[in-house]
């Protein structure tokens, strides 16, 4: 690789080097972006999130996530770990409800080595029975760490309460399946879900021809559409998790729109309109309607944010509050009142402009890191097989109108609600009381 003339391109011109997506006949999507960075990143995106788990193999994606460094047909577990470490690279797997993303990053010159490991891990895992059974303590450790975070507890329970199937599956292995997922489950899940039409190969800072070659040679192995996931059915429910924590976490959501629709864009704008976290460190969240509204209802420490999550066929929109247990009811009601105010048309054009600017800012800033960029390209490749440039997305954001936003708020206010709460539930209202 010629090191002379290497330079970092600014954000604006990064798209010019984007090799257009190649959609192979088998359905595999290959994309790469030459950003002339000395470090390369390659991701294999698979539509194999936990929504594709069936009732008899619930928790298999958790095991699969942990099994990324186990022995494969071409490389042993030791070789993978040592090989990746020797080049100073990183092999990681991220799983969300929709996708599993296998990423390797390393210096540009070492791409061949880590590429070999990546391909082995995604296409030729062996899932040896004893190695898989050794993952059980790691599963327990993962779950313990997740249980340590109340937010994860609440969000997972929220999904469990909101859906009847598919999206109700948790990212973590359920208790009854810890130790009961065997090698056969993993093999079957990979057979059914890791097919070419559900995969995308994305590279940042790699040679496109090389990537195409690898994709055609290795990732075309399993053709077919695999098992189609079930359509997610929203039901709306409630889960209350009592504990002795000194804070109460509560999430109230309703069904929103599937990702990729204009409605989903409206919900995103609404999220920022209402308030989605800090923009200034140690600031007072003056721009967040929710925070200002709740501050009038209680003087104790609290936090509130709009929650927005879109999946391929459904979505959740609502509020997430953290408050003192005694003030929980007031906080939740105050936050919901703010949303109602928006639904009733209490939004000014200035608010809307601010929200759009914040959303655009958040999106564009996420593209500034290589992880964010890779994820964006990959999820688009997987979901649509094409790439929307940042300018296009900014335009779409600008096209959201006031009515769209207030319709979205109305949909939340009138929709069947799901609620999940954790902490001292003494003053927490039930979902039918809010």
């Amino acid at each position: 690789i010629d090191l002379v003339g290497r330079l970092f391109l600014s954000q604006g011109s990064s798209e010019t080097d984007l090799s257009i997506f190649i959609l192979l006949p088998s359905g595999l999507v290959i994309a790469s972006l030459e950003n002339y960075s000395p470090a390369s990143k390659i991701g294999v995106f698979v539509k194999a999130g936990c929504r594709y788990e069936t009732p008899d193999n619930q928790g298999v994606t958790h095991l699969l996530r942990l099994a990324s460094n186990l022995t494969t047909k071409g490389a042993s577990s030791f070789k993978i770990c040592r090989g990746v470490e020797a080049v100073g690279g990183n092999l990681s797997v991220t799983s969300s409800r929709e996708n599993m993303i296998y990423t390797v990053d390393c210096l540009r010159d070492d791409i061949d080595t880590v590429m070999e490991y990546l391909i082995n891990v995604t296409t030729a895992p062996e899932f040896r029975a004893w190695e898989v059974s050794e993952l059980t303590p790691r599963v327990k450790m993962d779950k313990a760490q997740a249980a340590h975070s109340t937010q994860i507890d609440v969000i997972e329970s929220l999904h469990e309460a909101a859906y009847k199937n598919a999206l109700c599956n948790s990212l973590y292995c359920p208790n009854h399946m810890v130790g009961n997922i065997q090698s056969g489950h993993l093999h079957q899940f990979v057979q059914n879900n890791f097919t070419s039409s559900r995969m995308a190969l994305v590279g940042l800072g790699v040679d496109h021809t090389m990537l195409t070659q690898v994709g055609e040679q290795f990732l075309n192995i399993r053709s077919g559409a695999g098992t189609t996931g079930a359509e997610a059915q929203y039901r709306g429910g409630e889960i209350r998790l009592p504990s002795i924590s000194s804070l109460l976490h509560s999430a109230v959501v309703s069904e929103s729109a599937a990702a990729g629709t204009g409605e989903a864009m409206a919900f995103s704008v609404l999220q920022h309109l209402l308030g989605a976290g800090l923009h200034v460190k140690r600031g007072t969240c003056a721009s967040s309607k929710l925070v200002q509204g709740v501050a009038k209802a209680t003087a104790d420490p609290f936090d509130v944010s709009a929650f927005n999550s879109s999946y391929s066929d459904s979505g959740l929109f609502g509020l997430y509050t953290i408050s003192q247990p005694a003030a929980a009811g007031d906080v939740i009601k105050a936050a919901l009142a703010e949303v109602k105010a928006v639904a009733d048309g209490g939004v000014t054009a200035a608010d809307l402009t601010r929200a759009k600017a914040q959303l655009k800012g958040q999106f564009l800033m996420s593209l500034e890191t290589s992880e964010g960029l890779l994820e964006t390209i990959g999820t688009q490749a997987l979901a649509e097989g094409s790439y929307c440039s940042a300018e296009e997305v900014s335009k779409n954001i600008d096209n959201v109108s006031l009515t769209d936003v207030s319709n979205a708020a109305k949909k939340f206010v009138t929709g069947k609600k799901t609620m999940a709460s954790s902490g001292n539930l003494i003053k927490t209202p039930f979902v039918d009381e809010i």
């Binding site: 470490e85 609290f302 709009a306």
Partner: protein
């Protein structure tokens, strides 16, 4: 049109739960987990003290979980992969309680340890010295050779005036029971006449017994007892005359007959050598 802005936040920094094998040098740590037996003890530091510390704690979108070989070190932080065995059975009772200061017992513990070490060192040095001397002394004369080095003679077997010859260390040994007359004669000899002046009492422990090596100091022949001009020994090879004390009187020999080391363990025996 893709509503990218609402994608499932796989990399939202808040919602990353990770479990890894090795920590990376540049990435942040998440709270560690300690495994004690089968229970997991988690870091309980979760005091939210003021409003500002709660800011930003609410999640904005659904989570994604990451596992990597070289990422945020949740596990390595607490070395949970390495199970440290419980050594309580082998520890001193003074220091078993983690809440008690170990300073009080430190004096006695140190004294005990140093004493034991010191004593072991002394014993060890002594043992080493013994072993080394045993090996080195194995190179000295063996027992059978040493057995030949001494001779025990029963004196009652030798009558007065008689000289008996014994083989000792490969050489003849003369044991002579002297008469009173011989003793008096030898004691009165003038030392100025002697080639090798030695008084008789310097050559014998008990005057009635003279014990000398029967090797002529001239050229090594064996002298004949009770012969010669001086009532002692006469060497036939070159004519050396010795007296009853074994001193040279006439002839070519330069020195008196050699007197070996001997002692009388009791009246009846003499131990030569």
């Amino acid at each position: 049109m893709m509503s990218l802005a609402a994608r499932s936040g796989a990399f939202s920094p808040y919602m990353q739960a990770t479990a890894v094998a090795v920590s990376g040098p540049l990435k942040a740590l998440v709270s560690g987990v300690v495994v004690k037996g089968e229970k997991m003890l988690l870091d309980p530091k979760k005091q939210f003290l003021c409003r500002e510390s709660l800011n930003g704690q609410s999640p904005k979108t659904g989570p994604a979980v990451t596992v990597s070989i070289n990422g945020c070190a949740g596990v390595r932080f607490a070395h949970t992969d390495v199970r440290v065995p419980d050594f309580s059975d082998y520890r001193r009772p003074d220091v078993l309680d983690p809440n008690k200061s170990s300073q009080e017992s430190s004096e006695s513990r140190k004294t005990f340890s140093y004493l034991v070490t010191g004593a072991t060192t002394v014993v060890g040095v002594y043992a080493a010295k013994t072993v080394v001397t045993q090996f080195v002394s194995s190179m000295s004369a063996s027992a059978d050779v040493l057995a030949l080095s001494q001779i025990e003679i029963k004196l009652s077997d030798i009558p007065e005036g008689k000289n008996m010859t014994f083989k000792w260390r490969g050489k003849p040994l003369f044991v002579r029971h002297r008469t009173e007359k011989e003793i008096a004669t030898e004691a009165g000899v003038n030392l100025a006449e002697l080639r090798d002046p030695q008084h008789d009492k310097d050559r014998v422990l008990n005057p009635s017994w003279v014990i000398v090596l029967g090797v002529c100091t001239h050229l090594g022949c064996v002298p004949i007892a009770n012969a010669g001009d001086f009532g002692g020994y006469y060497c036939p090879c070159h004519g050396s005359h010795y007296d009853a004390s074994g001193r040279i009187r006439k002839g070519p020999a330069p020195l008196n007959l050699e007197v070996p080391f001997y002692e009388f363990p009791d009246d009846d025996t003499v131990l030569v050598g």
